[in-house]
Symmetry: C2
Subunit: 214 residues, 2 copies
């Protein structure tokens, strides 16, 4: 299992890499390990990510397997990619591990299969944004709506309109306001919200033919 840990870092996503074992061609690699005992794959991914983060990742999902001939640093025949998310407030990787964050658009050289796994994870994050609470897993427990919007913009790669974003969010019953406010220097203080999805029966919307996103 190759674990792709993602977290938002200054206007983009960053991935957690560890130094390669001595003798490897590339200097950095994804953290990886095999499952132990009867561990489920997601459990094993959680274990690997937690050891480096010092905290449990907020979401763990599979992103695909690869068994082609491309080189893997551990010589593994088959790799299963596991995506782990870490929220904004979890700053530094555990000391001593040598692990470090790298922006997705400025990665060091990686083994081909690892490079592929990172790309798959980045695509999966964007694709599942509408159906998984991905954005909320990249934020602390309470957050401002502007912060939430910035996460969406970061993942979608485009600007969103404030009023439209909030209207859609309002209609989804996914967040609820707390009675806390945060003032960040200049400007009006923002109300803090928490992720609290209400089980609401949605009217089934129409079919979308969105193949162009491929």
């Amino acid at each position: 299992m190759d674990v792709v840990t993602l977290s938002p870092r200054d206007d983009g996503l960053a991935v957690l890499l560890v130094p390669s074992v001595a003798g490897a061609r590339e200097r950095w690699s994804l953290p990886w390990d095999g499952p132990r005992d009867d561990e489920r794959l997601e459990e094993a991914g959680t274990r690997v990510a937690r050891a480096l983060l010092g905290a449990t990742p907020t979401l763990v999902e599979q992103v695909g397997a690869a068994s082609d001939g491309r080189r893997h640093p551990g010589g593994a025949e088959l790799s299963v990619g596991v995506l782990a998310l870490s929220p904004l407030d979890n700053e530094a990787p555990a000391s001593g591990s040598g692990a470090a964050w790298f922006p997705l658009d400025a990665l060091p050289a990686l083994a081909p299969r690892h490079r592929d796994m990172v790309d798959r994870a980045a695509i999966a994050v964007r694709q599942r944004l509408d159906h998984s609470p991905i954005a909320f897993r990249l934020l602390p427990a309470t957050f401002t709506l502007s912060e939430l919007q910035r996460i969406y913009e970061l993942l979608l790669g485009r600007r969103l309109h404030k009023a439209s974003f909030r209207r859609a969010l309002q209609g989804s019953f996914l967040v609820e306001p707390t009675d806390a406010w945060r003032s960040e220097g200049r400007g009006r203080p923002a109300q803090l919200f928490r992720f609290a999805p209400k089980k609401r029966r949605r009217a089934s919307r129409s079919v979308r033919f969105d193949l162009s996103s491929e």
Copy 2:
């Protein structure tokens, strides 16, 4: 690799199963095999499905891996689920294989991991309907718009409105009419269409907060 081959059969999806090896607890199982040489996983899945169908499946995708302690008929430690689609016009499985179609809602007993893979594949088919040309892969090369709509209704599990469906399809530039018509006994003959997606730059639509579909 456990291969979940799906095809539309009388108002529902059916999955292709093979008789279990002698001594297994369940009588039926998913076809499965390990990758050969440097075969990619999808290539291996294609090979397995083709051997049973007598034709190449029209779409092959991964749907997830499992390595928990649940029983697998071949005793494999790790399984990768592979989804294969077969169109409506491909009727019977290759003779001699003993393979047979079973409706998704009336499956025989399966090994726990296989049962899980089938469920994952069914979920994946529905989830990717909007972003992959799933529906078109379940139809012959030419088809009527009513047939296409029936596939969507079958996969979504709800009725769609004819006029709205066609208007949305029109706007998507995914199909083009042929000059052939098909008359099926009663009623007005229907024009045949073919899948021919035009590369059209779509304006980015708004964010959807659709977590309730989980």
